[in-house]
Subunit: 204 residues, 2 copies
DNA sequence: CGGGTTCTTGACCGAACGGTCAAGAGATCC
DNA sequence: GGATCTCTTGACCGTTCGGTCAAGAACCCG
């Protein structure tokens, strides 16, 4: 929208974003009406349309802010580590921590992928995540740290394992993100035939 | 609904199921109206409600039939193979073939997970898939074919890799299912640090 | 205090939705 | 040919939806 907001307005906007995120994740995007959002916050309907052009724009804003924040968290976590395999591990751990704190976004992104109006935006975000991962994998291959292979496939597989275990183990069973991250790394590094499984994998 | 149908009625019902599957997957469940479905088939609205109690019931029927058919395909593919690791590979290959032929269902299941009214049914189906996989992994561990580990985690990881590569490589890039299945197996068996990567992995 | 801006209200709107139903067409069997 | 059952029609219904807007309250600054 691009309206200039006072601190008070900024706060209202954040209230709307937070409440909508929770409702959309719990009840679904379509079944959650704008009326339900403003009623839940105890304000008039005009408030909603003061801060957002449409329900659709609000939703895209939630997705955009979420993706931005996740990427920032990953970048911060990797810090000045230089070894690509270690960087990958740090990225996985920080993603897991982030998803643990923002479980609602997980559901929202899954939904967004299933509808024509939101899918393109999601695909763009996933391309960025893939490209980030792919660079690390390629670098690790070049340095001989991991054997040659198709870096795209490997990156997608790593992201897939992270994603599914985040959903089933962490969001579904409330297990601590650090533990789940260890399991992701363990599987991704060695696969199910691998043997070096018993030593401590926790990095640094 | 349990209405008894003549062959003609059976065919109409299947037309509705097929058309709705395509529309839901392409455009989303909520944005696709019952009116759009019957108009697309060139029939009156009453036809829809002759065969289904509600739009929701139709959708659940699509999911139910899909899951049943996938499971049947897997069971058929595994045939009389006895080695658990080989059975796992056969299961992965047949799933990939099935998803290639039923890409619409992929999107539908992803959506169904995101909404309170459909999520329980999906979770039940996923529990079955997990349990099937888990049994094979456990068996392989008991026989020493793969090292000990948490069979739940490993099974979910394998299913996750299958799922993400099915989506990105097969449905997204139209690559042949057999190739993608090979890549899934390769990654799951050895991980990204594994070395035995160059021999032919194709089974039998 | 006055004047301008930011924010809020809630009645209202047209459109679209899921679903109903009385009426009738087509097939089938005796 | 009539009785019966399966299937089809489409106008119609009540409800809810996303979105609008004239009016006014709250806040800020000179």
């Amino acid at each position: 929208m691009g309206r200039k907001l006072t601190p008070r307005g900024e706060q209202r906007r954040n209230e709307l974003l937070a409440f909508a995120t929770e409702r959309f994740a719990t009840n679904g995007y379509h079944p959650t009406s704008v009326a339900e959002l403003v009623d839940g916050l105890g304000v008039g309907k005009g408030v909603f349309y003061w801060y957002f052009d449409s329900k659709e724009e609000l939703f895209m804003e939630i997705l955009r802010e979420g993706e931005r924040d996740l990427r920032r968290a990953q970048w911060e976590a990797m810090g000045d580590e230089t070894d690509p395999v270690q960087r990958l591990a740090l990225g996985i751990r920080s993603s897991m921590e982030w998803w643990a704190a923002h479980g609602d976004l997980y559901v929202l992104i899954e939904f967004a992928r299933t509808e024509a109006s939101f899918a393109p935006g999601i695909r763009k975000g996933e391309k960025v995540a893939l490209s980030d991962t792919q660079k690390l994998v390629q670098e690790a291959m070049d340095s001989g740290a991991i054997p040659d292979g198709n870096p795209v496939i490997i990156s997608q597989a790593v992201l897939g394992v992270s994603s599914v275990l985040a959903r089933t183990q962490m969001l579904g069973r409330s297990r601590p993100p650090a533990e789940v991250a260890d399991e992701v790394i363990d599987f991704c590094w060695h696969g199910l035939l691998g043997t070096a499984r018993l030593d401590a994998k926790r990095s640094a």
